[in-house]
Every structure is written in structure tokens, then in C-alpha cells.
Symmetry: C2
Subunit: 245 residues, 2 copies
């Protein structure tokens, strides 16, 4: 049965599912849906995902969206995926659901709100909103502290003290990687104090090598393009104050 | 193995897991953690759930939080739970994960933000924040529209067109029931246009009778108490403007 993944590599959950498939040798067709070009709003894409977001999956006749649901489906429906990604043991599996659920209202919400309102909005022709960015940063920083103090435990390098990564590590690390597009001083201010998180990101990269790096190779040119937009916006703002916020 | 559920019946996910256990004949001890009294911040409770939220589960030595993870665990770990609550079929299960994941950033976020900032904050001694309440209401209304136009389908009365309820119906309907505490005119303004949602709430109540009603019997006295707090706050505001927002 043909597997199609509808993704934008600028989207952190898209990168998580692409990395998962590559690491686990799952064959798929990558269908690029460029959010900044509004391709997610086409009538054709509404047939794939009526919520008009990426990522989405089509597997034969079966359609699915929401990245955590997709990761769980991929880990369950394809043979050959090692157990550590999504353990069969009920209690181990439950803990992974717990991390993934927590992610939605904490790390994801904080990170996406901060980065969108402080930078990525410009790629959508929208003004920055520094008040909302600050709200997002507060949630992001509290979430990183919880990852460092609670979700990363002493027993092993991955979430929940695991010795090998799960789908939760992929999902959350791809979220942290989104900070690669913001100014280096901002990234360092936010991530710098969290040595353990930085090590966890490296460990996850290594466990998913070389695919993780290949899929994230978009981050560096994206950062250049976004910071260029930001400096143009700042120039316009200086010429005609009040138009951007 | 003893099962303890740490809950506050004023919390919608707490009500979902209580209802699920009662309907499925799962024995448990209900440990009441009153959020408005700050009981979730005690050092004892931090041992149960370091995130200091309800609900949480302790089953023998196993601890778990996040209500969706708890519902999935309960449906999987206890024999005798009918398949429709959390189907074994991978694709049916994946669709339920998709609803639950969507819920976090849509219905839950909108509803909780709206109700907390327009009313429940007062129970925590906090001021109302009408700007945030309006932001929440916008997300809530968009979410209700998506439930009505997409998640409820023609084939059956429950989410995804199912003929019997799943854990997703319980979780989302308990969220909608949170609107029972707001002023009737506000509830009717928000829910009134959604006849299909109102029918779905009734169908879920009936499928989970009589436990659903019993567990939600807290809503009516809670509404009286909250609206009383609101009218006292309005009186204070009239006497000394600007202190409350």
C-alpha cells in the first residue's frame, strides 16, 4: 500500500515523521505542502486534511493527521520498527503518551507561539507580535525547565530515563530544533542554561543519523532568509514607525 | 492492584476518567484534590504528579498523569472494557488519537482559556481577564464549528461517525460540559447554534448513564457559587473601579 506524507520541512512535526520513516526504513512519497505559500489552503489539500495543516498521511485509502497520531500509527502499522520507539508494554507506552500529551500545551505551545510571533510571522506577510512572543517564551522556558528537571531522568540519555529513543524524543527534539531559525543570541539565551537538553538533542541526532541532520539541513538557509526578512522589516519600521506591530 | 484516581470534579478531564471507570465497572478509590484550595501544590501531591495538575492515576507502583494517557491506559489495562471505547483496530485507534491530539490545541485550549478568564479565575482569587477570555472564546467557537462540520459525521451519533462512544467522546463532551458553569446567556450564545453538538452531548450522557449525570451533578452548585463570586466582584469593581482587571 502506497504511503504518502504531506509535509513542509519547516514544520517541526513534519520533520519528526520524516525522520521516523527514514530511520525505520519505511518507504514513502514526500509531498511538499509549502505553508508560506499557502499551499495548505488549496481545495485539493482540504481533501487530505480538512484542518489544513501539515503533516498528514495517506496510506492506501486511509487518511490521518496530527503528528503524534501519525507517529503512533507508523510505529504500529509497519513491521520492523524496533520496540523502543513505541513499546508494546502498556505502562511504558502510557508514559510515552503522557509525554506526548504534555507536549501539546507546554513545549509545543510555548515554542510555536514564541517563534511564530517573534520571527516566522514575517514569512506569512504578518506583523510580529512581541507581546505574544513574550508570552510564548515564558511557556517555552518553563517547559524546558520541566524537561530538564523531570522528563530527562538519570537512568538513560532519553526521555523517561530510556536508553534508546522513542517517538516522544523525536517529537520534542524536533520542536527544540525549531529554535535553530531564531537569532543565535536568542537561541543561546533560551537553550544555553539547559546543558542536559543540549546533550539530549545531540543524542537524538546521533541515534537518528544521518537522516536527522539531512532533514534538518533546511534550518540554516531558513534562518538566513528569516533574519533577512526581519532586518528588512526593521528597516521599514524605522522609515515608517508603527506599521509592523 | 489498587487503583487510585486523584481528581477534582470541577476539572473536566477528571470527570472524563471518573465517568469512564464507573461506566466500565473499574473499581477505584477517588482521592479528592481541590484545585481552588491549592491542594495540588502540596509536597505529597508532587510525589503523585510533579506537574501539580489533576487528574493523576496510581495503579500499584505505577504513576501516570495527562488524562488522555490515563484513558488509554485504563481502556488497555482493564479487561472487560468494550472495544468501542478504544478499538484494537489500528486505523480506528489512530483516528481516536487524532481527535484527542486535536483536542489539546483547539477545544481544550479555547474552552479552558475562555472559562478560566471570564469566571473561574475568581475562585482562585485572581482577577478576570476579558481580553484573554475573548481570545479563548474565538478558539472555542472555531473548535465547536469543526466538531460540528467535521468530527461529527453522518454515519452515527458519535465522533468519527461511530455508533458507540469512544474515549474521545468522553473527553470532548466533558470539556463542552464545562460551559454549564457560565451564565446561561453566554452558554446559549456559544452552544445554541450547534444543535448537532447538543445532541451529541445528550447521546454521550445517555450512553454513560447514570454515572455521567451523577459525576456532573457538581456543575449546578458550582455555577451558583461562581456567579455569586462574579456578582460580588462586580459590586467591588463598581465601588472601587480598576481593581479587578
Amino acid at each position: 500500500m502506497a504511503l504518502k506524507l504531506y509535509v513542509d520541512r519547516m514544520s517541526q512535526p513534519s520533520r519528526a515523521i520524516l525522520t521516523f520513516c527514514k530511520v525505520n526504513g519505511i518507504d514513502f512519497e514526500e509531498v511538499k505542502i509549502q505553508l508560506a505559500k499557502g499551499q495548505n489552503f488549496s481545495p485539493e489539500y482540504a481533501e487530505v486534511n480538512p484542518m489544513k495543516q501539515v503533516p498528514a498521511l495517506v496510506h492506501g485509502d486511509f487518511k490521518l493527521f496530527e503528528s503524534h497520531a501519525i507517529l503512533i500509527y507508523l510505529a504500529s502499522a509497519f513491521s520492523g520498527v524496533a520496540d523502543h520507539w513505541y513499546p508494546a508494554d502498556l505502562q511504558k507506552r502510557a508514559k510515552i503518551h503522557s509525554v506526548l500529551d504534555w507536549h501539546h500545551s507546554n513545549l509545543r505551545r510555548g515554542s510555536a507561539t514564541y517563534i511564530f510571533n517573534s520571527l516566522i510571522a514575517l514569512a506569512f506577510g504578518l506583523p510580529l507580535n512581541l507581546e505574544k512572543a513574550a508570552e510564548g517564551e515564558k511557556i517555552l522556558i518553563a517547559s524546558l525547565a520541566k524537561i530538564e528537571s523531570f522528563w530527562l531522568q538519570d537512568d538513560g540519555p532519553f526521555l523517561l530515563g530510556n536508553s534508546q529513543p522513542s517517538i516522544a524524543d523525536l517529537s520534542l527534539v524536533c520542536e527544540v530544533m525549531q529554535l535553530e531559525v531564531v537569532e543565535t543570541k536568542d537561541r543561546d539565551r533560551i537553550l544555553g542554561p539547559h546543558k542536559r537538553i543540549l546533550k539530549w538533542v545531540e543524542d537524538t541526532k546521533n541515534a537518528a543519523a544521518p537522516h536527522f541532520e539531512e532533514i534538518h539541513s533546511i534550518m540554516s538557509p531558513a534562518k538566513d532568509a528569516l533574519l533577512n526578512l526581519k532586518s528588512m522589516a526593521a528597516k521599514k519600521e524605522a522609515e515608517s514607525p508603527g506599521k509592523l506591530a
